[in-house]
């Protein structure tokens, strides 16, 4: 094939385009921290997942240790079953508990892992039942209003335990 001076310029153009794609992949999307590690899947049952979405982070002590893979509804227990892909290099005791937390006041929701004390570790396919649902703002407000109303109707200074709505 004959060579022409266009070769150089086209090569340069392709190089610039490739560099731009590399920049997008590495600098803006952070391909390097994309874990190619193996992961193990566990399932967690939540009463209410709030605004949790697939690909949300699973964090323990603030460190990302896994991702939410998908979320389905279990029509036997009427709970949400959340499938988590946990990184294989992190092991957690079998009786660890999960919480749905929110980063910041309006941030996105993630799952927090609190390690338990069991000697055996979680393995693939395990189901975690010790969970704490997402805080739903509406129920929080209604709890607060009920306890206020109960406070003023009983008239005594002793507040009833919060969260137990009393009939007037």
């Amino acid at each position: 094939m004959q060579r022409s001076k266009n070769d150089v310029w086209v090569g340069l153009f392709v190089l610039i385009g490739g560099a731009a794609m590399l920049f997008l992949a590495l600098k803006s999307a952070n391909l390097l921290t994309l874990s190619f590690d193996t992961s193990y899947r566990i399932t967690a049952k939540f009463d209410n997942i709030g605004g949790l979405k697939p690909r949300a982070a699973v964090k323990s002590a603030g460190v990302v240790v896994g991702r939410v893979e998908n979320i389905t509804f279990d029509d036997k227990s009427y709970q949400a079953s959340v499938h988590l892909a946990m990184e294989s290099r992190y092991a957690f005791p079998k009786d660890s508990s999960l919480k749905i937390l929110t980063s910041g006041l309006l941030g996105e929701q993630y799952i927090g892992v609190e390690a338990g004390g069991d000697e055996k570790n979680l393995a693939a396919g395990d189901v975690i039942k010790q969970t704490q649902s997402a805080v739903v703002l509406e129920s929080l407000i209604s709890q607060f209003l009920y306890s206020k109303a109960a406070d003023s109707s009983s008239g005594s200074g002793a507040a009833p335990p919060s969260g137990t709505p009393e009939k007037k």
Binding site: S4, F13, A20, L24
Partner: protein, 264 residues
Amino acid sequence: MSPYSPVRMLSNLGFGTRSQLAELGHAARLMSRLLALTGPALARFGLVRDQIFFLGNYSLAIITVSGLFVGFVLGLQGYYTLQRYGSSEALGLLVALSLVRELGPVVTALLFAGRAGTSLTAEIGLMKAGEQLSAMEMMAVDPVRRILAPRFWGGVIAMPLLAAVFSAVGIIGGWVVGVVMIGVDAGSFWSQMQAGVDVWRDVGNGVVKSFVFGVTVTFVALHQGFEAQPTPEGVSRATTRTVVVASLAVLGLDFLLTAWMFSL
């Protein structure tokens, strides 16, 4: 018969529908021929290389400058909106996502239609008007194979590269305005961006989009040129139609692709 009689209007409607259908069929046949000529076109890569040079390298300047200014504007406007909610650290995420997912492929395709598509249409239309295409056929050279296919692949290869350059330069533009000029924290600018942009779902789908737009714009330009009336007026009309049809096709396809890709 008066031109407004019902029979005449009905026959005009029928004629219009038929000619539109015929054009669609012709376009589909040209597309299938171009796709069938993938191998021979890429085998004579010298022709494709010259087209990449003509369509890609010469568009690089306009793409870079537009990307930079779009990035500047995104940085300013994004900061203005985000700081109302006290989350100006998310500026990097906003700039990167809007560029990689939408603005990069779409604006590049629109500029590409204006910069490269029109020149393709005019070139091929003039070749047709000068009866060069007929002359090639007389010499048993297939004009689709020799003229259209290299241009098609040149455009299809150049477009995703241009879109990537646009997005990358735009992100740098957003960084210049947000971090250097306004003073958003550089660490959170990049870390929020890296936490929120996914390589395959966002960057990968943006590349797929720009590839589809490259096929669309280049094909519309080639088809309009190939179908142009072989007169000066016909070539000018074909050039105008290239910009109109390609822009509308890009915007419509963008909606469909976005709905299909990011429907989660």
